[in-house]
Amino acid sequence: MLAACIGEGIRSVRKNPALTVFLWFWSLLLSSMAAFPAWIWLGQGFNLRPESDRLLSGFNFALFGELAKYDRSPVRGILFASLFCVLVLAGLANPLISGGTLEVLGKGKDESKPMKHFWYGAGLHFWRFLRLLLYAGVTAVILLGVVGGAFSALISRLDDLPWETGFFLGRLASMSVLAFLSAWILLALDFARVRTAVEESSRTLRTWFWALVFIWRRPFTTFGMMASMALLFVAAAGLYTAACSRLNPALWTAIAAGIALQQLLMWYRTSLRVGLVAAELACYLKIGTLPISVPLNSKNAVLNP
């Protein structure tokens, strides 16, 4: 089941190159809005200053520290503000992007005009997906808050023991459990969206709880899909790091190659994410378990646009 779903996901990515390119471009556009002020700042700080050439051979704490000295320091506030705005924008756009993606992936054999499907799905699912996002956020705050609080108490007890290893183990356990819970919530959000899209259900709260249970009951398949995609990304990131370490950082060609590799990696990451959503869709359709009684809508937008 796991391999079949992942295979289905990867096939969907291959069938929808326009979608992955569009999503990659969207992330590039958004990030550019936040990175542009920083780029200007770096240019003003470094372009005419030979001292900055030390940064060609690697990161240097002191030089970046000096960049923030004197009247250059207020720029940091602008950088953080622009980054914050972009992240909020990305979060708000999340339901649009998800709806569009699911619409394109679920369109079956009709592969014409994928972006038309994308915008149709984005608009169709936006409010329901936004509600699901809200539920996921509330669940995350409650769950992570409660579990994190419990771990804090445990850690403070461990800190009082004459056992330094316990000090680190406590923190490691806390981070692992919180990471697991975060993954659970993210997966549940994905599956809740898949079900909502497939069934055009408006009962989003019920679907949200269904998704949490669904993940809990099928951990191998659901977490397995996520872990597989994560592993594929880590492998690519390793290759990217190895390739970058071979480039002479002082040459323009190497800098250009480095940027190209970064964007290639980002496109790959976007493709893996699309592949994961497609795999989740395939998984849902294959398992076909419907613990909550929502009749399959014959006007299903995803299956029959």
Binding site: S27, L28, E66, Y70, N94, I97, E164, Q262
Partner: protein, 690 residues
């Protein structure tokens, strides 16, 4: 053959030169014989001490002043608590884990009870609730050159480790624990006009100051405890009641600290002066310092490392760092005169006891995370061990007043530590070297400097820094920067001789800042007062920058000019024609204007470098006296770049980025790092955007 010649030259140089010699012993002013028993359940010390104090002055002294340091942790009204807000050395004080010292009795040798004559004093801040200083008025003054013997019993409650001292579980680091005399400074000592006691309250940012003497200390602990302490262990006696008494003896020290824990791994090594330093190293050192081979020869030292068992993979790192420190500090500043060195690794949760120095006894500080690759490339245990060992020279041997002139030990020691660590671990990755992330010694200290740091001075009492955290920069980092800047100005050999001479003259004594200046002026043969006044006593910052830099073709000149004594008129058209021809042949020169500015208050001569197209580097020196200077050049080529302090000798400069300017923009750095920033944001958006 080459080595033999080097050795012979070194010997000749060494013999020709004049040198001070290292004093063998301190003048004994305060001797302590102490017996103390640790109650490991109540965390209390039951102690008795006999103090013999000799009056070093020509005055009759009517009173004695004592430090009762543990009373800093007695309640929230102490000066220490008020200043620290209950937080020190990155540790938050735990409510209920108070510490205090209670003097139970104080008698003179003839039985006179001094308890009714004992009162708490608050010489620094008038805080009547502070009980860290006490004064006992004597029935009869101590005559000049005379002595007095006191017998004191005390009960001390150790705090949970908070600021250097205390307990955590079954780990004890016992420092600042016994009633201890301040220093009576006679007139003339450290620039005093009149004699008087120097006995400051315990402040959040201050350390210590005491007289040299002989310490004989009996420490009784439950027999499961492993004990380490200042000095040599001369006896170990089982008492038959489940306790053991360890006796430690040490001359020529001004403090005594000890530790006890049943969990210590005890690792012993010996540093051997004949094996761990080569003949060539001795010869080179003697030549550089202008001393004889005998004078630079090092003694053997027994090193004991008391390590937490979970840090056992780091044992060799600690030992190697200690050995290297004994070697290089010894070679540069004179042999370590004590027979022992104890390095203590504080127990879990007792980080507040780490990174501290006592005579022959230091505390390091590490974490299990640094046991293995890749985090073992963070050199925290090495750096802390080397720095704290350095204090044996700058604090233990040269006993400056840490309350009033902390830079003399912390600053000089930071400079000395920097020299050793750069030598051992390299310039660019002194502190951190893993996954391509590097942090060098110079970068790490320069990071702390900034244009806003112009409101305190290096030379000021440690408790008067505003904000209190400024102490770290002015006592450690700025002195290191100013000493490295000085070294770059006067040369490493002169600097090495200054430091060596300062150590030789003031070993086992109490110098002040002006004593260091005198040695520096004398040995360098230059008057460095102007520099020291600005950077040690003054509050100003140092920053040079390139204000403007422009290169343009020389303008067209026309009008009436003198040629061979006759007036010649050149009209505009003719001048333009000449210029066009010069342009065609590429012979029209460029006029370059460069403005250099001094943004800071500190004035220091500085080198400038100008690079013109197709020409060799041109250098100039600017005295820096004006705030701005303008340079104009006419050269065949354009200016490529201008650089103030091109060799980066002035480490005190708060901003090196503005030291140089190129005329042609180079976008490689901003493109590379701008793209990297974009890449990381993209990753963040990929996480939350879909």
């Amino acid at each position: 053959m080459r080595q033999t010649a080097l050795l012979a030259t070194s010997l000749l140089l060494a013999k020709l030169s004049y040198a001070d010699t290292l004093p063998e012993h301190a003048e004994r002013v305060a001797d302590y014989t102490i017996s103390v028993e640790l109650n490991s359940d109540t965390k209390q010390l039951i102690g008795s001490e006999r103090i013999v104090w000799r009056n070093p002055s020509n005055n009759a002294i009517p009173d004695l002043w004592f430090h009762l340091y543990l009373n800093a942790f007695k309640n929230t009204k102490s000066t220490f608590f008020r200043e620290s807000g209950g937080r020190s050395r990155s540790v938050q004080f735990k409510d209920g884990a108070w510490g205090w010292t209670n003097i139970r009795s104080m008698r003179m040798a003839d039985g006179t009870d001094l308890m009714p004559r004992l009162q708490f004093m608050c010489p620094d801040d008038g805080n009547a609730d502070d009980q860290t200083v006490a004064r006992a008025v004597l029935p009869k003054p101590v005559a000049p050159g005379g002595s007095i013997t006191l017998d004191i019993t005390f009960l001390a409650q150790l705090p949970q480790v908070f600021a250097r001292t205390g307990y955590r579980h079954d780990f004890f680091l016992v420092g600042q624990w016994f009633p201890k005399l301040g220093i009576y400074e006679p007139a003339g000592m450290r620039g005093r006009r009149e004699g008087g006691w120097n006995c400051h309250q315990f402040h959040a940012a201050t350390e210590f100051y005491a007289d040299y003497g002989h310490y004989l200390v009996n420490i009784t602990v439950p027999d499961r405890f492993i004990v380490g302490a200042t000095g040599q262990r001369v006896r170990r006696r089982e008492n038959g009641n489940g306790t053991i008494t360890h006796t430690f003896d040490q001359e020529d020290v001004h403090d005594f600290a000890w530790t006890a824990s049943p969990r210590f791994l005890e690792i012993r090594r010996t540093f051997r002066g004949d094996e761990q330093v080569t003949r060539e190293e001795y010869a080179q050192t003697a030549a550089v310092l202008g001393r004889t081979l005998d004078e630079v020869h090092l003694s053997d030292v027994d090193v004991t490392l008391l390590l937490q068992p979970e840090h056992s993979p780091q044992a060799e790192r600690h030992v190697n760092a200690a050995m290297a420190a004994i070697k290089y500090f010894g070679l540069w500043y004179g042999r370590y005169p004590y027979k022992t060195l104890t390095v203590v690794d504080p127990g879990p949760g007792a980080a507040g006891a780490g990174g501290m120095e006592y005579p022959t006894f230091i505390t390091a500080g590490t974490s299990s995370l640094l046991n293995h690759w890749p985090l073992d490339r963070i050199r925290m245990p090495e750096l802390v061990t080397i720095h704290e060992f350095g204090h044996q020279f700058w604090y233990a041997l040269v006993g400056n007043n840490e309350f009033e002139e902390a830079w003399l030990d912390e600053g000089i020691n930071s400079y000395s530590t920097g020299r050793v660590t750069r030598l051992l671990y390299g310039e660019t990755a002194t502190l951190i070297d893993f996954f391509g992330l590097r942090l060098g010694e110079v970068d790490s200290i320069r990071l702390q400097n900034g244009p806003e740091l112009r409101f305190n001075a290096v030379l000021q009492p440690a408790w008067e820094y505003i904000p209190r955290e400024a102490y770290g920069f002015y006592a450690y980092a700025k002195p290191e920067l100013l000493l490295f800047t000085l070294e770059n100005r006067i040369g490493i050999q002169t600097m090495a001789r200054i430091m060596r001479t300062f150590q030789e003259r003031w070993r086992f004594r109490h110098p002040c800042t002006d004593d260091f200046f005198s040695v520096a002026n004398e040995i360098s043969g230059r008057d460095l007062s102007g520099y020291f006044d600005q950077v040690v006593k003054g509050t100003g910052i140092l920053d040079y920058e390139v204000g403007e830099a422009a290169s343009d073709k020389v303008p067209v000149h026309f009008g009436v000019f003198e040629k061979e004594g006759k007036p010649v008129t050149i009209n505009r058209e003719s001048a333009l024609k000449d210029v066009r021809e010069a342009d065609k042949s590429g012979k029209r020169p460029f006029e370059t204007k460069v403005v250099i500015r001094r943004r800071g208050e500190v004035i220091l001569p500085v080198e400038l470098a100008f690079k013109f197209e197709g020409q060799a580097l041109e250098r100039a020196t600017w005295d820096g006296r004006d705030r701005t200077v303008e340079y104009r050049f006419t050269r065949p080529g354009r200016l490529e770049w201008v650089n103030v302090d091109p060799d980066r000798k002035v480490l005190l400069d708060v901003d090196w980025l503005n030291n140089a300017r190129r005329l042609k923009s180079d976008r490689r750095v901003s493109t590379r790092w701008g793209a990297t920033y974009l890449f990381w944001i993209q990753n963040l958006i990929a996480l939350i955007g879909l």
